[in-house]
């Protein structure tokens, strides 16, 4: 309910149709503190800020090392947003919520270029 209402607001603001579901892949290598932190941060951010449907897949490279090549994974942990386009990658333990939101294009407000400039 809440999600739907918010999504309507978002679509009104950007004058876009209903956004498609967000596909997220979190690459980790074993149960390291950084990986665990990243996963819990991701879950928190998604539940707090993501209004449309989303799907999180956790990929452990120690179990599936061949998968690292496809998404060009170097840093661990890396969060990849494959859908909707464009592809985005966020590396680190996702402790900075604002940056995660900017990185996931969830803040497509006029504030985002400034945020990018500040980051640069």
């Amino acid at each position: 309910m809440k999600k739907k209402a918010n999504s309507k607001v978002a679509s009104r603001k950007s004058e876009r149709p209903e956004p498609e579901a967000i596909e997220l892949r979190l690459y980790v290598a074993g149960q390291t503190p950084k990986s665990l932190a990243a996963l819990s941060n991701l879950r928190r951010i998604c539940s707090e800020y993501v209004e449309q449907r989303y799907h999180i897949e956790v990929i452990d490279l120690l179990k599936n090392p061949a998968l690292a090549q496809g998404d060009q994974i170097i840093a661990i942990p890396t969060l990849v947003k494959s859908l909707p386009q464009p592809l985005r990658k966020i590396i680190g333990d996702l402790s900075n919520t604002d940056r995660v939101l900017v990185g996931l294009d969830l803040r497509s407000t006029p504030g985002s270029p400034e945020a990018k400039a500040a980051r640069a």
Binding site: A37, P65, Q69, Q72, I73, L87, R88, D93, N96, R119
Partner: protein, 591 residues
Amino acid sequence: MATRTKQMNRPTNGEKSLQVLTPLEKAPTGVQGLDEISGGGLPKGRTTIVCGGPGSGKTMLGLEFLVRGAVQFNEPGVVMAFEESPEEMARNVASLGFDLNALAESKKLFLDFVRVEPNEIEETGEYDLEGLFVRLQYAIDAVGAKRVLLDTLEALFSSFANLGILRSEIRRLFGWLKERGVTTVVTAEKGEGTLTRHGLEEYVSDCVILLDHRITEQISTRRMRIVKYRGTRHGADEYPFLIDERGLSVLPLTSLSLDHQVSTERISSGLSDLDEMLEGKGYYRGSTVLVSGTAGSGKTTLAAQFAEAACRRGERCLFIGFEESVSQVSRNVASLGIDLHQWVKKDLLFHRAWRPTQFGMEMHLLRIHQLIQSLKPQTVVVDPITNLITTSTQREVRSMLMRLIDSLKEMGITALFTALTKGGSNLEGTEENISSLIDSWILLRDVEQNGERNRCLHILKSRGMAHSNQLREFLMTGDGIKLLPVYIGAGQVLAGSSRLAQEARDQAEAVARKNEVERKRELLESKRRALQAKIESMQAELATEEQQMERMFEQERQQERRLELDREEMAASRKVDSKEDDRAESARGGQ
């Protein structure tokens, strides 16, 4: 892990002394010349940094190390590219005869392309580069890799904002690679005043190779230097190298030792007259001969004759011309009765000609090297080496020739170089000052006299033999070259028509001298006869005198005897008649 990495990268003294005790194991590169200057290859199981500016051949060196490792030394490898995609890389090296894709398919190489788009990436909080390690481990396991190429690892520096993490991760990576025991080549861009832009050499201290690409007098030369190679002896000089269709080739300036085997076998110079001047046997096999002279003094002809003689012995000969085309040399020497063409057809003579300005110095010598390696000749002729000087500076030419001569000697190849001396300059000095490298030096010179120019030949030096010190006239005839003795007298050398004139004069003189002697002999004979006659007449006179004298003595003796008788008669008569005494006395007075 972190402490372990530190230990790996900052070796203690204990580790150093261990290296002295057990010689460093090496992974041969298979790159022509590099194994020589590095004493056998790159440090096995360790990391080597190859640094240089853009286009200096870093990737090529790394790739060749990997490809040759996989093909020649049965050491599969992992190529991790950070800048070029595998397709680009495969295309770039396809021209060198490396088929990366085929090697990848046959599990000899694993190609992984790491592409990091900085604008796709957002950094939030702590991370590490475990993904890179995972990928490397996966790739190493996939082919059982012994060699790894990271090209160019520094691309990561533009991809990640947190340099602190990046540096510590790279440090960890090098330690990790060492632990895996893979021989790694890391390429890196050269920085301002530092070996690598991001100071990678701080993390790797086993071996650093610097590549350089510079332009001198509009001719580009690539150079390689082993800046550092811990625990091993290596050449510290700058070595020119080049990249051609066979990959990388490094020319070692000089081999580290001067201990090539020499032969006592003698081979003909192609000229029986010249052989005669060289103890009647010719040059030593494996020696280096220089034929220097002014323009048109017959250098090429002498070289062709030498090549012809080699082919006649059934040897393979490589004739490299920098001045005349193949057909031109053949035609010109054919007029002297030297048929080179027949040996070309019999695959004994390999005649190659190219312009000296076609490439830089290194390229020329490498081409010669490659020809030697593929054709395996016993004799090499380069005509003329002086033309190479147009392509480079004197020092370079000298060092290059030194290298060439050195390697020829090592291979036991007899070499003949011709050198053009400029008119008016010192005849006995070559421009390249290579005389000290030469074993036998034949000097051809023009002698200008009485309105004609004549060619003369003499042996300036020939190591290890009692060679002739004579100056000989050098004649080109329809039957090849002839060497004639020249006249040396009154401080000048006579050749050509003046020699002929001198010969005629000498002949006339000889005849005159002969006549004179004959005349004197006759004169003496007649004198002897006259004196003999005189002696005979005097002897006859003496005999007559002696006879007269004898007769006189006889008369004297008879007279004395008669006087004696008379005196006795008188004494007897005095006793009888004194008158008779007076008569006898008056008769004696009357006598």
